[in-house]
Structures are given as structure tokens and as C-alpha cells.
Amino acid sequence: MEKYLDILNVAIYGSAVLLMLIGLYGALTKKSLIKIVLGLSILDSGVHLLMIAIGYLKDGTAPIFSAGNEEKMSVMVDPIPQALVLTAIVIGFGVTAVAISLVIRLYRHHNTLRIDEIKKLKW
């Protein structure tokens, strides 16, 4: 039970999960394509926050061996999630860019941004 009361848990993970849920909510309910893409971006951000948070160590330092802290390896936060999130962000960017371009194409083709009007392909 105490894990639900831990203020840091709630603050960091809670906000990350909340971001994800907001993003998903937007993506699943909003009719505008732009808003859906935005929702997906928010979802991505939430996940990135989550990833970064995994790597955190209480009272840790950045994983950089600047002069003087060569020996503080044990207090360094985990660098791997950071590296991963870097990759994930770039990939997320790529996806968003393609999504936006598709939205542009769809608007050009259908002259609307409402997703429930763009369903020529069905059944």
C-alpha cells in the first residue's frame, strides 16, 4: 500500500501515466486528425518520461565522468534509459513527421480533417 503513497512515485510515474492516458484519450476520442496526432505525441512524451524515470537513482548524478567524479560510479543514474529515450524521441519525431504529412495528404484528398468522415476503405 505504501507504494501508492510514496510522493515521488505519484509525482513522477503518476504524471507520466497521466500524460499517457491524456494522449490516448485524445487519440481515441477526438475527431480531428491534428488532435489525434497531438494525442499520439503526448502519449509518446508520457512514455519517454516513464522511461527516463526508470533510470533515476535517488540522489544520483548525471552519468558523466567530469573531472572529479570518476569514482562516483555507484551514485550515477542509469545511463541506458537515457540513451534509449534519445532514440525513442527521434523515432517518435519521425513518426510524427510522417503523420503530419499524411494528415496534409488526407486534407488535400478529402478536404476534411474529421476522422469519421474519412472511411472510404471499410468492410
Binding site: V95, V98, A99, W123
Partner: protein, 494 residues
């Protein structure tokens, strides 16, 4: 060893970066270089397969770091077999689309071939990589090139299909990341072999939930039932050969990923049942839906999804025979479905909506294409002596050996539906009169060669399945031997 698995990734990427430059000088190079690269990849896979069958699995590390530090590529009989299949199909798709209609424009055709090449590369990467995050990256490569290829035709509703694909893909990739992070947070490693070794340490609840997220994420690419809404649209709207590429390459890679998860990484017995349930639902829904389609490519798409469900079922049986059958199915499906997509897109070439009724009477106008489509249909129904029969037999035998009698019955009943809708098309090709007069497109010579190649494979495997059963057998043994995989990867001395 002639070459290394890493070249499967390095060479295409190098080519991808070079092509924009060479394209400025020599326009045709944008078409030829990808073909050469794909041919190289196929040749490389054959040569490595030869090596592997003699000396055992190749584990290639990147940047000189041994697993679990570095990323590694694993070229085993199993992954090698899939690589060979994918690169071969990639080459066939290239061959088929070499004289693509829109090639008059330099830029789009450059993009088409680069995207195609990277699609194959990404899929091969998924199969070869031994690192789970790296797999994510490759999945994204495949997805983005998939989005690009789907929306290639600006005149069609392709953007809509691509957007649906992207929508699902984006959600999927999110959950894939979550799953990866759950694993990482518990085990502190990303290497598949390492994870597999440490998996017993993990909390059971987290194990279950991470697998659930994995299944959702990979399921989108693998076209399992509730996640495959995008698939028919994409198959319909993408250029014809890309449908083949999706069915033959991308889905195979995704299935590989899920199989690797269940067979190697996780140690759940129940996951196999999950495979069977999901596969069965996918199979049933897709095949029943396919029965009622009035557009050719959509029908082929649903059929493809259904076949993938069957593959899932076969993997879910969980014995070596089951894996053997699943691999055989994958092989056959890749070859046959590509053949169907190739020939089918010529049968409805210039039609806007590509209704099934447009194939009426095509047997007279496009005899060879029609015959090839017929052979493909018969093969996928599983009629002997075509190749599809042997894989169906293998699946059923495997299921029977595991005493899954009801499963056999369901598969067979659904197979009847499959027969019905394919035969309806074949009947139309030969026995219906062409109503309206529309011009038909004769297949270009390169497309014809590609189709005939695939047709010959279908026939040859049908008459002599032993040609590939050796590969399949080794691959199945390889997949079943989890301990060996871990040992091979983690004790590499390099």
C-alpha cells in the same frame, strides 16, 4: 565464412545513403542499386546458410562488445531461413516492380525503391537482432517505410490506409517501449539471450503484464485479430507488389518477433495456448470476412491475415512438429501469397475499385497470369500436388500429435471457406464473360519472370517438398532449443 550477418544491415543502409547521390548522376541507378543490394542480400543469406548448416549458429557482435553489453546479430538456422525467405521475396518484389508505371518520375521511384529496400532490411534486422531495443528500432524502420510505401500512390485513398496503419503503429510502439522498460527495470539488460537466462528472477505479475504489452505491440504488425484493422486497407491501397512484401516479409518478421518472445524470452507454458486462441480467432474472423469481400485485393488481404492466424496456431502447438509446420506455412504463404498479389494486381490492373468482378473473363486476355493465379489459389487452398498441401498436412499432423482434435476440425472447416472464395475468383477468371470493355495491361517481362519464378517454386515444392524440409527441420530444432540459443549468444568468444 563468406561475409557476415552485419552486412545485411550495413550494405543496404550504405546503399540507401548513396542512392540520392548517384541518382543525380545516373537516374537509372535508383532502380538498379536496390535490386543489386537485394540480390546481394539473398546471395549472402544463401552462403551463410551453407556455413551455418555446417558450423552452427553465427553470432555477430557490433562494435566489438560481447553480449550482453553490445548488440549482437544471430544467424541461426531459424533466423537464417527467414532471412533467406525475406531477401528472396524482396528481390522478387523488386524484380516485379522494376518497370513500375510511375517510374517516369525520378523522385518517387527513387523513394519507392529505397523504401522497399529498407523495408526488407528492417525486417531482416528484426529477425537477426539479438537485442530487444534494437528490435524496436527495426520495427520502426519497417513501419515508417511501410507508411511511405502504402501512401505511394497519390491518386488512391492510400493516405487513409497509411494513416490507419500509422495510428495503430504509433500506439503499438508506445506499448512496446513500456514493455521493454518493464523488462529492463527488472533485469537490467536488453539482450534477448540474457533476458531469457534471467527471466526466472522476474516477478510473475510483471512478467505477465510485459508479455501482454509485447503481444499488443507486435500483434499490430503481425495482424492478429483485433489489431489488424489497418491491414486490409494497406494491402488494398499500397502498390500491388507491396501487398506481397507486407504479406511475405513484414508479417513474417513480426511473427518471428512474437515467436522469439514466447519461445525464447519468456518461460510461460500458457503463452502457447494464448497463441492458439489468438491465432484461431484471427483465422476464423479473417477467413469469414474474406468470404464476403467484393474487392480482390481486400480478399487477398483477409486471406493473408487468416493464414497468419494459422501460422500462429501452428506455433502455439508448441512442439517441434508444430514449429516445423509453422515455418513451412510461413514459407508457403510467403511464396504463394506473393504470387497471388503479383498476378492478382495485373488481373484488375486499370480498374479503380478493383472489384472481384473485374477479373471476369481475364483467362482469355492474360492467359499466363491467370494460370499463375489459379495455381496460387489451388496451392493456398491446400490442394495436392501443390505446395500448400504439405504445409497444411504438417499443421494438422502436428495438431493431431498433440491431440488437439477440435482444433483440427475448426481449421478444416474454415479451410472450406477459403476454398470457396478462391474458387469463386478462379471461376470468374475462366468462365465469366467480360462485360465492359476496358483495356488490360499485359505484364511486363520482368514481372512475368518474377511470377513464373514463384509459380515454379510452388509446383516444385509441391512435387518435392524435401527440397526445403531439411532447412525447416533444422530451423525448428534451432528454435526449440532455447538453452542452446542462450549458450551460443552469451558464451561467444570474440
Amino acid at each position: 565464412m563468406v561475409g557476415s550477418p552485419v552486412l545485411f544491415v550495413a550494405i543496404p543502409l550504405l546503399a540507401a545513403f548513396i542512392i540520392p547521390l548517384t541518382g543525380m548522376i545516373w537516374k537509372n541507378s535508383v532502380r538498379i542499386i536496390p535490386g543489386l543490394v537485394l540480390a546481394f542480400m539473398f546471395a549472402l543469406s544463401i552462403s551463410l546458410m551453407g556455413y551455418v548448416s555446417e558450423h552452427g549458429t553465427i553470432v555477430e557482435v557490433i562494435a566489438g562488445w560481447k553480449p550482453p553489453i553490445g548488440i549482437n546479430l544471430v544467424f541461426s538456422p531459424f533466423t537464417g531461413f527467414l532471412t533467406m525467405l525475406m531477401t528472396f521475396l524482396g528481390f522478387m518484389v523488386w524484380l516485379y516492380s522494376y518497370k513500375f508505371k510511375r517510374n517516369v518520375d525520378f523522385e518517387p521511384s527513387m523513394k519507392y525503391f529505397i523504401l522497399l529496400m529498407l523495408l526488407v532490411t528492417g525486417s531482416v534486422g528484426i529477425v537477426l537482432t539479438g537485442d530487444i531495443f534494437n528490435m524496436f528500432v527495426f520495427i520502426e524502420i519497417v513501419s515508417i517505410s511501410g507508411y511511405g510505401l502504402t501512401s505511394f500512390y497519390t491518386r488512391r485513398d492510400s493516405a487513409e490506409a497509411a494513416f490507419k496503419f500509422l495510428f495503430m503503429g504509433a500506439i503499438a510502439s508506445t506499448f512496446l517501449l513500456i514493455a521493454i522498460m518493464i523488462i529492463y527495470s527488472q533485469l537490467g539488460t536488453l539482450n534477448i539471450a540474457d533476458i531469457a537466462e534471467k527471466m526466472p528472477l522476474m516477478d510473475n505479475k510483471l512478467k505477465v503484464l510485459s508479455l501482454v504489452f509485447f503481444i499488443l505491440a507486435i500483434g499490430v504488425e503481425a495482424e492478429i485479430f483485433p489489431l489488424n484493422g489497418w491491414a486490409p486497407d494497406v494491402y488494398t491501397q499500397a502498390p500491388g507488389p507491396i501487398g506481397a512484401a507486407f504479406a511475405g516479409i513484414v508479417v513474417k518478421a513480426a511473427i518471428y518477433a512474437s515467436v522469439r518472445l514466447v519461445y525464447t524470452m519468456y518461460d510461460f507454458g500458457g503463452a502457447f495456448d494464448l497463441f492458439i486462441i489468438i491465432g484461431l480467432i484471427t483465422f476464423i474472423v479473417a477467413e469469414t470476412t474474406a468470404l464476403r469481400q467484393d474487392r480482390l485485393k481486400r480478399m487477398l488481404a483477409y486471406s493473408s491475415i487468416g493464414q497468419m492466424g494459422l501460422v500462429m496456431i501452428a506455433f502455439g502447438i508448441g512442439t517441434k512438429e508444430g514449429v516445423y509446420a509453422a515455418l513451412f506455412l510461413m514459407f508457403n504463404h510467403a511464396i504463394i501469397k506473393s504470387l497471388l498479389f503479383f498476378s492478382g494486381s495485373y488481373l484488375v490492373f486499370n480498374k479503380k475499385n478493383k472489384y472481384i468482378k473485374h477479373v471476369n473473363g481475364m483467362g482469355k486476355y492474360l492467359p499466363i497470369t491467370s494460370v499463375l493465379f489459379t495455381i496460387g489459389s489451388f496451392a493456398i487452398i491446400g490442394l495436392p500436388p501443390f505446395s500448400g498441401f504439405w504445409s497444411k498436412l504438417a499443421v494438422l499432423t502436428a495438431a493431431a500429435d498433440s491431440k488437439m482434435v477440435i482444433l483440427i476440425a475448426v481449421i478444416l472447416i474454415i479451410s472450406i471457406l477459403e476454398a470457396v472464395y478462391y474458387l469463386r475468383v478462379v471461376n470468374r477468371i475462366y468462365f465469366f464473360d467480360k462485360k465492359e470493355k476496358t483495356e488490360t495491361q499485359k505484364p511486363s517481362i520482368n514481372a512475368l519472370i518474377a511470377m513464373i519464378c514463384l509459380g515454379i517454386i510452388v509446383l516444385v515444392i509441391g512435387f518435392y517438398p524435401d527440397l526445403i524440409s531439411g532447412y525447416l527441420d533444422r530451423a525448428a530444432t534451432d528454435l526449440m532449443d532455447k538453452g542452446n540459443y542462450i549458450k551460443e549468444v552469451l558464451t561467444i568468444n570474440k
